[in-house]
């Protein structure tokens, strides 16, 4: 009897425990607020003892951001950089995913291209900036190609890995249920490798940002990279900081939005690992 009662009480306790909110402090730490407060604190202290041209205070940066917003240049630069990244990234994905699927599926293609892919992928996009300008001009084209390049290999390699990671039994079962090769591609291989493709696309977003800022620093009249680079000429260190913060925010937001999309629209494919 006693044993049974104990068991019931234990269960109740466990239930309450699991329902209890975790400590307020723990929550605060997890929300990131504490970390950001710390950053601001250290930043403020450091800036108070140094030259504002060397390290502007958070307040100065905030004022710089307002300066830049007044004539609309900040929002223009944000949208220009954003458009470049998003269009190059989409185009890069559109090229990389089908190629990755094919290479992953056809061992002959894999044998053929594997050495090339593994060679070229070590050349960072930034190394191509001058070359792409030479080939595609200094306009939008060269920048979009650069983003495509930055996207292409990451997504291709991830897609290939995803296709290869699919269990043979899935293909076999589909085949014995009468699926054609095309149907297997459409209904087994693509959905099955989506988690890998998704991860590749997400990583590529990061490298696209790096590439575009580099390209805008070297050759552009607009964009966040241009802004950062140009601010140096006027010793507007606060503007440089505005650019850095904006970059972080843009990357963070895009990643979040993409993740939310993955969680909602691609839920059944389990693309977002918690």
């Amino acid at each position: 009897m006693g044993g049974v009662r104990n068991k019931v009480i234990d269960r109740k306790e466990a239930f309450q425990k699991s329902k209890q909110p975790t400590g307020f402090l723990k929550k605060l730490i997890h929300s990131g607020v504490v970390a950001w407060l710390l950053v601001f604190l250290i930043w403020s202290i450091a800036s108070s003892v140094s030259d504002p041209q060397f390290l502007p205070s958070p307040l100065a940066v905030w004022k710089g951001a307002i300066d830049l917003s007044q004539d609309g240049s900040l929002s223009l630069y944000i949208s220009v950089s954003f458009l470049r990244v998003i269009s190059g990234w989409i185009l890069g994905n559109l090229a990389a995913i089908p190629i990755g699927l094919l290479i992953g599926r056809i061992s002959l293609l894999r044998a053929l291209f594997d050495p090339v892919i593994n060679f070229v992928r070590f050349i960072p996009p930034l190394a191509f900036i001058t070359l792409f300008m030479l080939w595609f001009g200094i306009g939008e084209q060269s920048k979009i190609f650069l983003i495509m390049y930055a996207t292409f290999f990451i997504v291709t390699i991830n897609t290939i890995t995803g296709v290869q990671a699919l269990e043979e039994d899935k293909l076999r079962s589909a085949r014995s249920m009468g699926a054609s090769e095309w149907q297997i591609m459409l209904h087994v291989i693509i959905p099955g490798s989506l988690p890998y493709i998704f991860t590749g696309a997400r990583l590529a977003m990061g490298s696209s940002f790096m590439a575009i800022i580099g390209a805008e620093m070297v050759a552009a009249n607009e964009g966040i990279g241009y802004m950062i680079w140009n601010s140096r000429l006027y010793f507007k260190t606060d503007w440089i900081f505005v650019g850095l913060v904006i970059l972080g925010l843009m990357g963070f937001t895009m990643d979040r939005v993409f993740n939310l999309f993955g969680k909602a629209a691609l839920k059944r494919y389990n693309v977002v690992v918690k």
Partner: protein
Amino acid sequence: MRTVKKPVTESAPIISISGLTKSFANTDYYVLENVNLSIQRGEFFILLGPSGCGKSTLLNIVSGFIEKSAGEMSVDEEEVHKPGRNRGVVFQQADAALFPWLTVKENVEFGLKMKKVPKNTREQASAHYINVVGLQGHEGKFPRELSGGMKQRVQLARVLANDPDILLMDEPFGALDAMTRRTMQTELVRIWKETNKTVIFVTHDIQEALLLGQKVGVMSVGPSSNIETIYDISLPYPRSFSDKEFSLLYHKVQSHFD
């Protein structure tokens, strides 16, 4: 005497294998050598043998997943080299075989969808076979939400929905706990009786073989394995371990592996 126009008689085997030999590329031995086997329509055939003797290899050849090296194999009196809808395969690892992005119902309808069967026919079939395997109420769940035994039921329903003549099962209950395995064995016998399918069931478990099979083909230890002896098990279903004849048979089969 046989005439050219063969009537499909009771005795025409649905699967017929003769002189079948298999060695894998880059190996210098035969996994299977001179396998001879014929299986009657509607028969529950067990392929029994120790691990590594070539059971899966033989089943994969019948499935059409891999090519034999020599010999003949025909299904319904036709040589086969490819997988086909007439042979439904139930794999050992449900997680590897099921599509985790599809619900139970969608998994079961997969084959019919590939065949472009209209939606309402498809739904009738899936509802029926989900019922047959006892998964009603779980149609909308994803495989990851199911237990191991339930996943194997999904595999079974998915295969049955294509209405194959033959079920090929490679140690399908090997990964289940003992209690679930027992339940699944009983269920399989019931389903086999309900659907009149021909079954080839691979196992290395003698008890399982004797619980399920009408015939038990014992394979010799590899390499160059083949089917050493075929036992006719005439015990009525449901069978029980405690049956005297069961234990006699058990010891007889066991002696092959001593």
